[in-house]
């Protein structure tokens, strides 16, 4: 079963219906991923909506989302499958004295297999969206684990043989680019760089996510955030932080984003004290900052 998207605009509309705004680049890449059964590798700074893209895709396509959160030390047992050791032990104890040959075939069968996200994604009878989040966090060796899945949507389990996907999942990998991924992995993916949104796009996102915010204020929020991102910071404000900021302004009933209001609420947008000081200095807000 595939999705019913016939062109990138369909994708765009379907995603917009879930509240995720695309541009033609994102729409085209998602469309290709669906048509060519290729994984999407979404790379870009933290908090620009890479993970949200997968969530929106799942919703738009009406599929289950299977998520594999990557971290240092992730291994096969956590990503692919594991044998249910306790169950196997119980099985062995249950009929002591049985011939080993019978038992062996038995305890290494599917009912003793614990599915982890990757295996689950390809064995699912209904097609799913598979999100492999922050893949840059795993070691280079672990990346190799993913290659078989990304290539052919299959998993090889020594005791059982190769399990091939019943249905083809849409795969989204995200990376914050903290290290370069291996060529082998990149080669198998469609590459989608997701930068910080332009002022126009961020304004549109605000209109979508914080509709109560007056247009004038939204415009100013978007422009201010964009100016702040130009300043070299430890952690530039992400889209979700922009949204938080907009909501804060709403709650506080601030109608015009003047110097005082900005200076008072900067901490919503920036998470390091040095960054706040730097921005205040750069936008010449230190004069109004309370001493």
């Amino acid at each position: 079963m595939t999705t019913h998207w016939n062109n990138p605009s369909d994708v765009s509309n379907a995603l917009a219906a879930t509240g995720y705004l695309t541009d033609e680049r994102i729409a085209q890449v998602v469309y290709l991923a669906d048509k060519l059964d290729k994984p999407i590798l979404a790379e870009g700074p933290a908090g620009v909506g890479k993970t949200a893209l997968a969530l929106a895709l799942a919703q738009a396509a009406g599929r289950e989302l299977v998520r594999l959160q990557c971290y240092e030390g992730l291994d096969e047992a956590k990503a692919l499958y594991e044998w249910d050791y306790h169950k196997q032990l119980l099985r062995l104890q249950a009929d002591e004295g049985a011939a080993w040959g019978d038992l062996e075939g038995d305890i290494f069968s599917e009912s003793f297999l614990l599915e982890r996200p990757l295996l689950h994604a390809i064995r699912s009878p209904e097609p799913v969206v598979l999100l492999i989040d922050e893949v840059d966090r795993v070691e280079v060796e672990t990346e190799a684990l993913l290659l078989e899945i990304l290539d052919a949507f299959q998993v090889t389990i020594p005791e059982l043989g190769t399990i091939t996907a019943v249905t083809k999942p849409i795969v989204v990998l995200t990376s914050n680019n903290t290290r370069e991924l291996s060529e082998a992995l990149k080669r198998r993916c469609l590459y989608l760089y997701v930068p910080y949104p332009s002022i126009e796009r961020e304004r549109a996102i605000l209109a979508e996510r914080v509709p109560e915010l007056p247009g004038v204020l939204a415009d100013k929020v978007a422009r201010t955030v964009s100016a702040i991102r130009e300043i070299p910071l430890r952690k530039a404000p992400s889209v979700s932080e922009t949204i938080d900021w907009a909501r804060t302004l709403l709650v506080l009933g601030i109608e015009d984003l003047d110097d005082v209001a900005t200076s008072d609420t900067l901490h919503v947008l920036l998470k390091y004290r040095t960054d706040i000081e730097k921005v205040a200095k750069d936008l010449s807000l230190d004069a109004v900052a309370d001493g």
């Binding site: 729409a27 080669r187 936008l283």
Partner: protein
Amino acid sequence: MGIPVSMVEVLDAASAIEHTDLEDPRYLKATLGATLIKNARHYDAFESAFDVFFGLATSATLPEETLFDGVVGQPGDIQASDSDLLDSLVDALMTDQRDELRRLISRAVSLYAGMQPGRPVGGRYYTYRVLRRIDTDELLARLLAALLTVEDEGEIDQRLRTNEAESLVQSVRDELEREVTARLVADRGPRQVAASRRIPLVEDVDLMHATRAEIEDVERAIGPLARKLATRLAQRRKHGAKGRLDVRRTIRRSLAHGGVLIDPQFRAPRTAKPQIVVLCDVSGSMATFARFTMQLTYAIAAELSKVRVFGFIDGLDEVTGYFGTDVDFADGLITMSREADLVRRDGHSDYGQSFEDMWENYADAITPRTSVIITGDARNNYRRPGVDYLDRIVERSRATFWLNPEPRRYWDTGDSIMSMYADRCDIVEQVRTLRQLEAFVERAALPTMRRPRIAS
């Protein structure tokens, strides 16, 4: 050189194009970008090439202007028409009329670029000629005035207004560049234009002569690069030789097997973490380069090993403390130049004095496990070379490397005494791009045997 594209990726692109709406170049760009370009750093170069090949059909639809009418305005009316042009530009920009902007730029190119058909140029010169006539500072000023809406604006408003004006000016520049490229393509065909345009990839940018924008790109690339190197280095160390046989533990284990030595035990190999000492010429001429070397060193240090950094001009001081994970790099540089004791006399590089300082004051920083990296152009201003001190440093260290950002052919010219130093070091490299720096780090940070010195 160039962006690596594998065979598989080309095939992917071909099958992806079947699912692409070719009417709209934006979709084609997305398709090719996603299938061929797998690194954000390469996207700019891709975009530039794409625009040359696919993006420029539009200017053919412009009315009446012939491609090379070669009319260069009469000297007398240039000033007047320039000012009018600026007004019209401001108008078009403020009311967001793309077509009008395009028409104006096209006209300006016809008038001022003085394009000559058939010349194998990349267009930068033509752009420059037009920009000489479109006074961008004046344009910025007029835009700033036009954008002013509130009377008593605060700092933020002012800042946002400036940003907006600047981005509008940039859009004029972009449009101009696009127009010039379009005409070049119409004249000589995309292949030739692409060949003469060649935008260097970030890893090939000349660090000594980088523009500000390029420097920003390079700095963004350093973090991931350093981590990639660090993982690779750590990996090689891990896969090194097994430790020696641990007799005591092996015999002990054998008790469980009735005294049969079935399960040999090994000592964990000693993982000697490399220690790095960097001596960095931070005099004026070396400043940009020093910056990159230090940034890369720090990024790697965060992952790998112990690093001490010393800056020198005609005096040497430890500067390790000025940088660190919680210090902004630019701030670190400022503190360093203010507080570190780098200048003793006149602020011209003195390698001899610096090596002497190093040995006299910080000899204990160098141990047989230390790799010493010296960066600088070895231009000693005809002063005492101080090779005796360098010799002692080299003798005590595990290995000594010298990175010189100058092209090899300039070594030993003028006041450069590179060979005198080079003979004493283990590896001497010309490093002026990230790519060369990467290659060097990989070579240098590997655990090598105690040096088999190559006789010079």
